[in-house]
Structures are given as structure tokens and as C-alpha cells.
Symmetry: C2
Subunit: 638 residues, 2 copies
């Protein structure tokens, strides 16, 4: 049954074992009270999962757990469905599913680990009904489920949780309309209105205005309640039982609810950046948070006349920080952008609620009037940039690569047809970090953008390459550009040639070699290639030429001939699906030559990447150093 | 000054020459009255343009012309901007610009002709400030213009016209928010609320509900007026002069306003399909419409005590109907879909306001409960299909290829990560019809979708190939599929092999030949290839093998070797950008072979396609028969 805990100890992680959940679920007490205890138990376990994973979304897991607990414990019938459209609250929902016995308990130790629990929901996990993590799709998905149920004469309610920042996505409003026209009363949407989105307060990012009035005007039945008051929430749900319209509850919640110093209400709303949206707490914060939850739980148990809860403990593994020598492309980008902005008064920066991750805070501080926070509204942001460019500005448009390349894909094309100049900057590019899972792994962005007329796609491989490439995009590129940035700090085992300047379509040899050439780009793949070349040369006595080609959708044919030289084989490495990646364009160029220079081989993604640690993911999809060594051997039949 | 017209004659086209516009603009009369006359003059000229082009949007040109005329004649100051977000009303706006003397008069004869006036607005045309034609981007663009103006300390109002069907797009609602938060009072949006979208009544497609309440809830200043009553519109504009919020006018208009039998108010709103959304009127309808406008104009002139208007005439060129032997892929698709739907009770069809163009009317009639009209809401449609598939349905999702592949690109990927089965059907694929211009020419869809994991892209080349490919997608495909359909009736100079059954990744030889092979797909390119092969063989005495490969993102490597055989050259023809097209994937496959079989050459798009007649466009972008003959010669150095 586990130990009771007096004082939480720094360096120790605490979780509540499954039998305690069974005991609580069977305990005779007021249902609301029991659900509140259950929710706090889930908070502790979610906190454990995130601390152990080293990453995860505490804030929205905590804000939504009272609601999830009530739904799972008391509300949902056999055919009912719950899912979270935002998906950030996955650790919270996993811990609730685990507490319900619907998910194997041992998975609690495997958040963001391969074959464990992905960073955002995936239907491969029991109890998860749809893949989420890119925002705004929830109501649409729920409608599809209701239509299917109705056709099959199945009953069942669908509870969809959404974020509040998520309401900035146009698809949310787009999806409300037909739910009313078709009378989809089976849907109850619940807005986890915790007032903060990823960076800071929703009202500072893109104020939602009079949310109740908007939702009512759209024809939904709207109720509002305190979403951390289980009784109030239960009463609100009961109110809606016989409603024939689709229903939506604005549940006012507190981000980080349940741990005093994680609650957003302690922040100054005018300046604050919330610290617990994603990432893991440090050891000291963890200890204090665990202590606070545990003490409250034991008080509740004692007040209920029940035996104190037992806990399990485990020593926190020291997660090594990135080596101090690791290179960080985002800060390098920030510096380069500021430098360009000083020179170009018409340069403006646009952001979609990722000002921290895209490195724009110093830009906003330096050029407040030239910074535009668009909220989670990528389509609007891109078309706004289009209008700016038509009137003489040079917009630099930022988001994560996964979202920027796909959500506003038609809008980017529309801008391209106007032949204005816009720079798109997609960070978090590639398969790693592997923790967030496929909604965030940008591995389709090259293919999604490569055919945009006049657009050049580039990716820097190290800090030193960021500035020159941005400079090229701004001062030399003939048209639109897309800059693909790996966000992870990465140890770089190579240097660019001294005095490096980008030449259109041309790369550079990083390691000399004569038997086979590797062409790749970006810090993750180029580092692996350099290491693999070294290993292969030592093991096989054959030399591997490693070439960095920062151009993703163009290549200078003459340069390529020289670059490959006498190598009879070329291995293309793509931090991307093989189809539509850089290697595909290299192949296309080489196939047009009048004689064959080299046989081409590819390593890259062939299927949806898994969620896991970076090494787990790279190893599973066969894109790590050992896979490259193997591919080199296969190519050379060694 | 042109002739006066008594009775309009069938077969004759009428337009008003420029000096008459100058005369009217200088005429002393009530400003509203003058604007009404100007608007009717523009109606006649827009009707002329559309009749001469053989295609164009009458309904929304006519509904919006009173508003446009007032803005251009009386309202707009030097720095003000007007544009139409929907863009369907381009003929109306062109005729107004021509009437203002801002656009060269002779362009009136060149609607939808190359180097003339494109089917949807393009900034290459004087007076057009932004490219439109794909919906929902207007307010976002306007915001970008205001931000740029403010930074440059420029003043100027921005008038953006939107459609009402367009309001189904999520981006419209997404774009409203920051306009309020930034206080963009410079923007006046005008909804041309003519109650009909492309297929039929907005309220039957996807009812907008209480539009005023919605817009007010979003924080905009909202006014409503009769948009065909110029006085009422002018008064409404005046009301808004000092408003500090962004402003929106719901202008109640009549689609087809100004020609009694083209006005939608004569329709039965429960069943009607509106006949004058796009396309040209037949000779008899044209004559009646012209007669009606001309008579009204002359009455107005007479009442104003002004000399009657003079007209120019021109004989209408007989536009040859497509030959009766032309093949029509959309009806073939309709038949095939019905057949599959009979066999698969879980098959459902989803549409985004293109039920006529995508061939779904018979499906809706036969299976009303399995048909889902989603409105102009592609993202919502695709995610709804995702929810359906999760619950056991087999959704078949329809729109134009240009929209379907790009607007919901992230949603398609999200569905793909769930590994459910969904069939996407994109019609209007490729560069022709050339009239609508780049917003509607789907030439980037293969690249945008090819890397979707598990998704197979196919395109039938003739009616006989449609059914077998749909059958393969539904009954054999391992995952998601995308079916790319050319919508134009096309004369097909080849037949498929008897008993043809699709084999995954394999094509078929259509014309035997030994010196060079062409691989292509779809009726437009394959027909041109067959013709070019014939010409080339006769002219040069060299034989060309023509191969139909309906698989766009995969190829069976072994089959490809055999198919190319001893040909030392392969010409890939893409009805698509070369980058990311079928030819790119063929190159990638061939570059991996251990020895070189053939040198690859490409014909396909390299830049944004122009608007024009089909032949003009194919000729200009060098994708017609003569260009293929030339490419064959170049490849073989003949």
C-alpha cells in the first residue's frame, strides 16, 4: 500500500499506487468530496510523471483535473466519450485514466518515453479516442463522432475539453456552426478557461473579448461555472441534461490549480510569463509542490475519517543538462534578427503565441512597435503578413515549423502569388525533441512548402550558419524564404569554413572522403553524419565525405557534381519524411545529368515518428549514428 | 459615342464605351442617382465581359456593383483602398475600374484571356491591391495594410468586401479578434449579403444564424442596410465616420441584382440551385438581360433629362461546345461513387459547398442521410471526417483540389496520424481550366499531400480509369487516399488496356516506342503526350513510348525498370509544379537503382500559372503538345 509521507525529501519523487485509487473510489463519502480527493491524487501522479519525464504540461493538467475527475468518476456512461482538444493536459488525463484502472499502472513511469505515454494524446494509448496536440480540431472531431453514432443508431454523449488560448484558432469558430444547424446536443464542450496560454495571459496575447456573448451568438447553450469547484461543475452539467442545442461550459479555472506557487493567480498579469506551462519543475519546486498536495490529501482523508494515503517513492534521476558547449540556434537567431532589424526599419516580426520559444522577447523589447503578437491564429498571422508586405514592410513570421508550414499553407501560397517578400521562420523543426509527439514533430514542412513558387527553404546547421542564412534571406533572396530551425541545444562536432558566406544552392564539405558522400543539413543530422563517417572510416577503412547543404529545395547542379566528385554513392539524410525532403530534390537534379555520377541512397522518415526521448526516437526511426553507419555499409555492400 | 439600342438582338453583345462613362461622371444630378446609373452601366459591361469570356461570376458582380460604384465615385479618398476578399465579383469590379478610367478600356474584351483580366483578382492588374479568390483572407490582409500604414504614419481607410458564404471560413472569425484588440477603425468591412453561395442558399448550406449578434459579440461596430439602395448605403457609411472600432456593414443585397430573372429572389429557396453563380448566360438569356439593363438605363437618362446612352456592339463568337466525344471524369466519378456506396453502408460523402462541381447531387438524392454539406469550411470538414472514421465510417471528402490539399493540410495530417481510412477527392485539378487563375489552379496539391504517411495519391486519365481507381482506394488501399480529378471535359485519344485493373505503383504503356519514354497521368497531359508522340514520330522518325502512371506519389521500382525498358531517356510530364510532382518521385526511385537506365527530363510548372483560356495557358507555360514535341527533341538532341 506504500508509505505515508511526513516531509517530502528533495531528490525523491512521490506517487500514489493503484490500490489507493481503488480504495478511494470505494470510499463512502460525498461524491464531490471523493472526486476532489481523486483529482488531487491525480495531480500528485501527474506531477510525478512530468518530473520523471523531465518535461510536460503541469499548468493545464492541474487546471483541468477537477473536471476530468468528475466526468470519469461520476458522469460518464458506457457509451460516452471524453477527449481533450488541446492535448496539453495529457499528463493529467493519463493520471486520471490510470487512477480509474483504465490504463496500465506501470505507464505512469513512462511519460514521453518510447512505447509509453506520448507527450500529446495518441489513439495508440487505451482510453485516448483521438489524436490531439494541434489546436482547434476538437469540436469538429466530436461532430464526426456524433454523426457516426446517429447513423449507427448509437447513443452516447461527447465531452470535449478545449483550452481558452485555443479559441483563437479559426477552426474552433468554424466548427460551431454546423453543430447548431444539425442540433448536435450530444456534444458538451468544456472550456478549461484558465486564462493563460503558452506564453502568458490570454488577454495580453489576443483578448477573447466577451466570450459568453460570442458563444451565445453562435447559437450554443452556454453556461459558466467555477471549473475547480466540483460541486458547481456537477450542478452545471445537471442543468444541461435536457438541452437540445449543443452545449458549452465556460469553466473558470486556475492554471496550476492545487499548488499555491504554481497557480497563475499569484502572477502580475501585466508582465508575467507563467513558469509552469511546459517543462519540468526543478527539484526544489517539485519537493514543495508534492509536499503541499500530500498534506492537503492527508487532511482530507483525516477529515473523512479514512486511513491516511500511502505513497511510493523513487529517487529522481539526475537529468544531465545540455553540455555547456551545446549550440543553441534560437538565441543565435535572436541575435541575427536584431542585427537585421537595426538595418531594416521596415522589418517587422509576427508571432503566434510562442514568443519565448521562437526567441522573440528581445525583439519585442527592442522594437515594441514592430512586434505583432497574433495569438494562436496562424492563418490570420500569415495573411496579415501578406497585407504588410504589399504595403512595403518586410514581415518575418514565426511559429513552430509543424504549425507554420501546414495550418496556413494556402495563405502562404496566396502570399507567394503576390511575389512580395516574406520570411517564414519555423522552429522546433525535425523529429526531435521527441517528447511532444507527432503533432509537434515537424517532418513534413519541406514537402509542404518546397513547391511554393519563388520560395527558398534553408536550414542552418550550427550557430555560425544562422546569421549568414538570415542575412541571405533578407538581403539577397529573390523572393519568399522559409528558415527551418532545430530548437534543441545540440553538441556540434564540426565547424563551418572560415569566412563562410551562403552561395545559392551550394553547400560545403565538412569531412573529406572519397568512397561515399553524405549530404544533409541541420545540427541533428549533420552531427550524426560526422560521427558516423568517423566510425565507418575506422571500422571499414573507407572514407566518407560529409557535405552540409543548407538549401532544402534547390541545389546548384554544377556544384553538386563537384561536391560528389568521384564518390560513386551518395547517402541523403533527411530530418523529414524521405518523400519531399532534400534528398528527393537532389535525386531529381542528378537524374537529369547526362551521365550517372553516383547511386543515391536515402535515410529519413518513412512513417509517423513515435514520441520518446530524443535518443529513443532517433534510434527507433533509424536516424541515429549507428543507423547511418549501417546505411553506409549497405550502400557500399560492406 | 456608339449606337443607341432599340431591341437587343440575339447573337450580338453590347457594351458601353468609355466616353459615356466620362459623360455620366460629369453629369449634374443627385450623387446617388448618378451612382445607380454608373452601376447599371457597369452591369452591362460586366455581362458583356462574362458573355465574351464564356465564363465568370454574374451573380455576385451584380449584387455588389451598387456598393462598389458608390465607393469608387463618391467615397474613397486618395489613400483609401478597396478590395474584394471573395474575388468572385471581379468582372463587376473590373467594369467599375474601367468606368472610372483606372483600367485600360480595351481590357474589357480580355476577361479570362491571357495578359488580360484574370478570373480572380491579381495584383498584376492596375487597381487590384491583393490577390483573392480563396476565401476568408480579406480582413487579415486589411489588418496587415493598416499596421503598415500606421508604422509609416500614413492614413487611409480600407474597405474590404466579403461574401456571406465566405463567413463560413474560420479565418474570417479568427481575423476579427485582433482588429478589435488593436482598434483598427481604419477598416470597414462590407458583407455582400446576397444570401446565396456557390451552390444555393447560404441558409441551406450552412446557416449563418444571427449574424449581427455574432459580429457584435466579436466587438465590431455593426450596421445593416440595403446594399442595393445606394442612398441607404451612403447614409450607413456616414454613420460610421467617427467610429473608433473596426466597422462592418451587413449589406443586404440581391444576387443577380438588376436583371429580373437573374435575381435570386425569384427562386424557391427550398430546392433551388442558382443558375448564374458562375459560367456565362446562353445567347437568349444574354439578350433578355442586356435588353432589360439597357431599357432601364435609357429610362434613367431620359428622366434625368440627359441624352440617351450610346453602345458598342460586337457579334458573339460561337463558342464550340466540348465535342460530344469528350470524356467527363466528374460524372464517371459520380457513377463510381454511387456503386461503391451501394456496397458500403458505412460510406459517407462530405462536401464544402461544391455539390454540383464535385458531382455529389445524385449521391445526396440517393443517400440523403449519408451526405454531409459542410459549407465553405474545409478544416472543419476534414476533422469531422476524422471523427467519423474513428467511429467506423468511411468518409469521402470533397472539394476543389486547390482548397482541399492546402486549407486543411494540418487536419489531413492529423487524421493520417490516426491511421484511419479517409478518401479525399480533389476536383478541378491541374492548370486548366485556366480562366479562374492561380487561386483555383491546383498545381501544388501533389507536393502538399505526397508525404502524408500512409496516403496514396492517384489520378485517373479517362472515364474508364475512374471506377477502378476509386474501387482500389476503397477496397484495397492500405490507408488514406487522395483522388485527383480533372474537371474539364477532355477529348481522349487513347484507350486503357481491356480488363484494366489498377496495380499498386504500376502504370501501363499507352503508345509503344523505343527511343524515349514519357510518363504522365491525367487526361490533359496524357492526351498531349499521345499527340506529341505521334507528331514526333512522324517528324523525326523516332518512336516515343507513352506510359500512363496513375500513382502520383509511389512507383513500383521493378515495374518502372520494365516500363522504361531500353529507352535511354524519360520525359516526366507534370500537370503540377515540377518540384514535388510525380516526376520528382520517379527520379528519386531511379536514382536509387544500381545502374543508370535513362536520363530524366521534366516538363511541368516552374512558376505561377497565368489566367487565360485553356490553350493559352497550356501554351504559355509550355505544357501543350508543341512544347512536348520540343522537349522530346531537346532530350534526344534532335
Amino acid at each position: 500500500m506504500g508509505d505515508q509521507v511526513g516531509q517530502a525529501v528533495e531528490g525523491t519523487l512521490y506517487y500514489i499506487p493503484y490500490p489507493e485509487f481503488e480504495r478511494i473510489r470505494a470510499l463512502k463519502m460525498a461524491r464531490e468530496q471523493r472526486a476532489a480527493i481523486f483529482a488531487d491524487m491525480c495531480r500528485l501522479n501527474a506531477l510525478y510523471m512530468i518530473a520523471r519525464a523531465g518535461s510536460g504540461h503541469i499548468g493545464s493538467s492541474f487546471s483541468s483535473l477537477d473536471i476530468m475527475s468528475w466526468l470519469l468518476l461520476e458522469e460518464m456512461q458506457k457509451d460516452d466519450i471524453f477527449f481533450s482538444s488541446k492535448g496539453h493536459d495529457a499528463p493529467g488525463y493519463y493520471s486520471a485514466l490510470i487512477g480509474m484502472g483504465r490504463l496500465e499502472f506501470d505507464l505512469i513511469h513512462k511519460l514521453r518515453k518510447i512505447d509509453g505515454l506520448p507527450g500529446h494524446p495518441d489513439i495508440g494509448t487505451p482510453g485516448i479516442v483521438t489524436n490531439t496536440g494541434s489546436l482547434g480540431m476538437g469540436i469538429s472531431k466530436a461532430k464526426g463522432m456524433v454523426f457516426a453514432n446517429r447513423l449507427a443508431k448509437r447513443s452516447g454523449c461527447i465531452f470535449v475539453m478545449t483550452g481558452d488560448g485555443e479559441l483563437q484558432e479559426g477552426q474552433f469558430w468554424e466548427s460551431l456552426v454546423s453543430a447548431v444547424n444539425y442540433g448536435l446536443h450530444e456534444i458538451t464542450a468544456i472550456i478549461d478557461h484558465n486564462k493563460l496560454q503558452s506564453d502568458t495571459f490570454v488577454k495580453n496575447v489576443s483578448d477573447l473579448g466577451d466570450l459568453e456573448a460570442k458563444l451565445r451568438a453562435f447559437g450554443w447553450r452556454v453556461e459558466r461555472c467555477d471549473g475547480n469547484d466540483i460541486g458547481a461543475f456537477a450542478t452545471t452539467l445537471a442543468l444541461l441534461k435536457d438541452e437540445t442545442r449543443p452545449k458549452i461550459i465556460i469553466a473558470d479555472t486556475i492554471k496550476g490549480k492545487g499548488v499555491s506557487f504554481m497557480e497563475h493567480t499569484s502572477l502580475d498579469s501585466d508582465v508575467a510569463m507563467y513558469r509552469f506551462h511546459s517543462g519540468a519543475p526543478d527539484a526544489s519546486s517539485y519537493r514543495l509542490a508534492a509536499q503541499e498536495i500530500i498534506e492537503r490529501l492527508q487532511q482530507h482523508m483525516s477529515a473523512a475519517g479514512a486511513a491516511a494515503l500511502g505513497f511510493e517513492t523513487i529517487e529522481r534521476e539526475a537529468t544531465a543538462p545540455p553540455p555547456t558547449t551545446a549550440q543553441r540556434l534560437i538565441p543565435a537567431y535572436t541575435r541575427a534578427l536584431l542585427e537585421q532589424a537595426e538595418k531594416h526599419p521596415n522589418l517587422v516580426a509576427l508571432d503566434a503565441d510562442l514568443i519565448l520559444d521562437t526567441g522573440l522577447i528581445p525583439f519585442r523589447e527592442r522594437f515594441p512597435e514592430r512586434f505583432f503578437e497574433c495569438g494562436i491564429a496562424e492563418q490570420d498571422m500569415v495573411s496579415t503578413a501578406g497585407g504588410m508586405a504589399l504595403k512595403g514592410l518586410l514581415p518575418v513570421v514565426h511559429s513552430f515549423a509543424c504549425f507554420l508550414s501546414t495550418r496556413p499553407n494556402e495563405q502562404i501560397y496566396n502570399n507567394a502569388t503576390e511575389r512580395t517578400k516574406i520570411i517564414y521562420v519555423g522552429s522546433l523543426a525535425g523529429v526531435v525533441p521527441g517528447g511532444p509527439g507527432h503533432s509537434h514533430q515537424a517532418v513534413r514542412d519541406i514537402s509542404a512548402l518546397a513547391a511554393m513558387p519563388g520560395m527558398t527553404l534553408v536550414e542552418p546547421s550550427c550557430e555560425a550558419e544562422v546569421g549568414p542564412l538570415l542575412d541571405w534571406c533578407i538581403n539577397e533572396a529573390p523572393g519568399n524564404c522559409y528558415i527551418r530551425l532545430v530548437s534543441l541545444p545540440w553538441e556540434i562536432p564540426y565547424e563551418l569554413p572560415r569566412g563562410y558566406r551562403p552561395k545559392y544552392g551550394q553547400g560545403m564539405t565538412i569531412v573529406e572522403g572519397a568512397d561515399i558522400a553524405i549530404i544533409t543539413y541541420g545540427p541533428v543530422m549533420l552531427s550524426a553524419a560526422v560521427k558516423a563517417a568517423d566510425i565507418f572510416a575506422k571500422e571499414k577503412g573507407l572514407s566518407v565525405r560529409v557535405i552540409n547543404l543548407p538549401w532544402l529545395n534547390i541545389v546548384d547542379s554544377g556544384w553538386l557534381k563537384t561536391a560528389i566528385g568521384s564518390c560513386r554513392h551518395l547517402l541523403c539524410l533527411d530530418n523529414h519524411y524521405v518523400i519531399g525532403g532534400q534528398g528527393a530534390e537532389l535525386s531529381r537534379t542528378m537524374a537529369q545529368w547526362d551521365s550517372r555520377r553516383a547511386q543515391v541512397h536515402h535515410l529519413g522518415l518513412e512513417d509517423i515518428p513515435p514520441s520518446g526521448t530524443n535518443q529513443e526516437v532517433l534510434s527507433r526511426i533509424r536516424l541515429d549514428t549507428s543507423a547511418i553507419v549501417e546505411a553506409l555499409g549497405k550502400a557500399l555492400k560492406q
